[in-house]
């Protein structure tokens, strides 16, 4: 494979299959309610995709991706909430024109950090900018001091905990434990109708495919090679004259950006945002999606997310008690038995047979092994 190629042939096929699955097969085969659920799962896939880049390729395990999912989601939800609480809609409140939960908490004027969310373009910028900026600060502080590995995991986790406590505690400004609910329209367009849900599903799927292409682009660029080299032997990359911290910050910000898009689409499709998607528990659960799909597989992230969530929904409908046991078991099994997840199983069992069937040797490898010569 030439290093300049954007996508290899087998990767094109893989992307096409995923695109066919989420754009054609799923919308045709499941009803509106289920499709909305799939849409919700796909928003988590953004986070899983970010984790593939950050954890699989960069070797940085962040247990706080919920922070960025949440920040993106809250930015979107704040815009939608402001639109839903126009003066006409809220005239029974003692202060019309501010969100209902502020009125309940005796706040009489809109806080300053809500002001930018009156305009849609500004909101769209902030949905990406706020989480990425936040990731930059965390990344800059940690990576330039060469903090990594388990320490980084613990600190991101602590930040996720802090943010949750803050959101829950500052009820008047953030909606507290209930989050921001009762979102209605996007620039006058009702997002609660069935048609709107269909459209949002396709927008979401399109954005996800866009992010997948970005991820492949990064993976095949020189930067992707450096990331892998860094994961394998950080010191050697540093001694070769690369600024290791800069690359780490970049990939962490990229993952944060992906998560933020997912969060914003979540708020649009599900119609609310709450701190239960910010904290430690959801953040770690999102790591398991990546791990199940295969931490090195960009497309695996999507399959992993869909599969785990499908299992979660069907288990918790019938045996809610078993689900936690199953999820816990999944964590242990994935780590002990299948460290490369579904993608690893596919590469070691399915791909060789497919190769035999088509009479060709599978010319491409996958991401599991760093290809080409090491950075020299």
């Amino acid at each position: 494979m030439k290093s300049t190629a954007f996508l290899s042939r087998s990767e094109w096929i893989g992307v096409a299959i995923v695109a066919a699955l989420i754009l054609v097969v799923l919308p045709l085969s499941v009803d509106g309610f289920r499709l909305n659920l799939v849409g919700k799962y796909l928003t988590y896939a953004f986070v899983a995709l970010g984790l593939v880049m950050c954890w699989g390729y960069g070797g940085i395990l962040s247990l706080g991706q919920g922070i960025f999912f949440g920040l993106g989601g809250y930015c979107m939800a704040m815009f939608l909430k402001l639109e839903a609480s126009s003066v006409e809609n809220t005239k029974i409140q003692s202060t019309p024109g501010i969100p209902d939960f502020m009125d309940w908490n005796q706040i009489t004027a809109l806080p300053w950090f809500w002001e930018p969310f009156r305009s849609l373009p500004m909101t769209i910028i902030l949905v990406i900018a706020v989480p990425v900026f936040f990731a930059f600060i965390i990344g800059f502080a940690m990576f330039t001091r060469r903090v990594g590995g388990t320490y980084f995991a613990i600190i991101t986790q602590a930040i996720a905990a802090i943010l949750t406590i803050l959101i829950v505690g500052q009820q008047g400004y953030t909606g507290g434990i209930n989050g921001i609910t009762d979102l209605r329209t996007l620039n006058g367009w009702d997002i609660r109708t069935d048609d709107a849900k269909y459209i949002l599903y396709f927008v979401n799927a399109g954005l996800l495919l866009g992010c997948v292409l970005i991820a492949y682009f990064v993976k095949h660029s020189k930067l992707g090679r450096i990331l892998v080299a860094m994961r394998e032997k950080e010191d050697r990359v540093r001694f070769s004259g690369y600024s290791v911290a800069g690359f780490k910050i970049f990939v962490f910000c990229l993952a944060a950006g992906f998560s933020a898009i997912g969060g914003a689409m979540f708020a649009l499709q599900v119609g609310f945002m709450s701190p239960s998607f910010v904290g430690i528990v959801p953040s770690i659960e999102m790591v398991i999606y990546t791990a199940v799909g295969g931490r090195l597989s960009i497309l695996g992230a999507i399959y992993g997310t869909l599969l785990v969530n499908w299992a979660k929904t069907s288990f918790s409908e019938s045996f809610p008690e078993l689900w936690l046991l199953g999820l816990g078991g999944l964590f242990i099994a994935v780590v002990l038995a299948f460290p490369n997840g579904l993608a690893g199983l596919y590469q070691s069992y399915v791909e060789p047979r497919l190769g035999k069937l088509t009479g060709k040797k599978s010319d491409e490898t996958n991401g599991a092994l760093p290809q080409g010569s090491p950075a020299e």
Binding site: T150, A158, E321, L325, G328, G329, F331, V335
Partner: protein, 308 residues
């Protein structure tokens, strides 16, 4: 925020909140001691540590029930029996987990984190299925109830004093074990250089297993002490796990002294601020402070200088 109170009142407030902080400090130290041994010495992140603690709490609860029903005359002393049982139960579970899971993952610390998180989910669900979702509390024996009045405005609870005393004793025992015993010497040798330790004839696998079991056993004792001041539910352990990890990391991972110093700082800061601010803001500010300091000084307060 200080202007509403007179100087004497402020003094009492600081003493009372300081005492409340000392109880929190004891819980932190007890939890963090186990973690500091496991994380600091072995480099393993045990996300299920809170669940080991809760196991100890449940053992204490059932022991108290047993004494209440069958040996009411000895009820005053049940706690000491319970503490021993809690240590054995959590330690035995820890030993099993090390054998079944952790020992395969020493080379992959991040994966240990995920696996033990899975373990914590399983344990939580098991507690919920077997012991019920409701929180349970133990009955304190007579001599542990009530409080001692030091001055007219300052009172201290006896159970709090007892927990503090217990913490001190356990800390001293652990320190002696780690720094004065032959076994502790072996543990530290394995930490500093695993290959060389193996080469001079230390059975590193055995040391690992017993270290992990000891850490978990201390968590069980922590849970036992925890029942004296709070109630126990299937998910109580998770509430403390992040705080405890921060305590250990803030103190400098391989240093017992650092763990104690950082537990003291964090608990005192939190409980003093709790009086003046809301509980959630006190916690946010404390954690933010800790994370901020860790960003400036990632190695923690106290560090062990070791060439690795």
């Amino acid at each position: 925020m200080f202007s509403d109170y007179s100087l004497a009142e402020l003094g009492s407030i600081f003493v009372m909140q300081g005492f409340a902080g000392l109880i929190l400090f004891s819980v932190f130290v007890l939890m963090a001691l186990g973690l500091a041994i496991i994380f600091g010495q072995m480099g393993v992140i045990n996300m299920a540590h809170g669940e080991f603690m809760i196991l100890g709490a449940y053992v204490t609860y059932f022991t108290s029930q047993f004494f209440l029903n069958y040996l009411p005359s000895l009820f005053g002393g049940y706690f000491f029996v319970a503490m021993g049982l809690a240590f054995l139960a959590s330690g035995a579970l820890g030993m099993f987990i090390e054998w079944a899971m952790i020992r395969h993952l020493y080379k992959r610390p991040l994966d240990t984190l995920l696996a033990t998180w899975g373990l914590s989910l399983i344990l939580q669900q098991l507690y919920r299925s077997f012991f019920g979702p409701r929180e349970v509390g133990v009955e304190l024996p007579e001599w542990m109830m009530g409080s001692i009045a030091l001055t007219d405005s300052v009172e201290v609870q006896i159970n709090g004093l007892f927990v503090m005393g217990l913490t001190t004793v356990i800390t001293i025992v652990v320190a002696l074990l780690m720094y004065r015993s032959r076994w502790g010497k072996q543990v530290r040798a394995v930490v500093q250089n695993r290959i060389m330790a193996g080469a001079v004839g230390i059975n590193t696998e055995k040391v690992d297993r017993y270290t992990f079991a000891l850490g978990c056993g201390i968590a069980g004792v922590a849970g036992s002490a925890f029942t004296m001041i709070g109630s126990t539910g299937p998910t109580s352990g998770q509430l403390y796990i992040v705080d405890t990890f921060l305590v250990v990391v803030f103190g400098g991972a391989a240093s017992l002294l650092g763990t104690i110093a950082s537990a003291f700082t964090i608990s005192q800061a939190q409980s003093t601020m709790e009086f003046f601010l809301s509980g959630s803001m006190a916690k946010v500010l404390t954690l933010l402070g800790v994370v901020g300091i860790l960003m400036l000084r990632p190695q923690g307060l106290f560090t062990l200088k070791v060439r690795r």
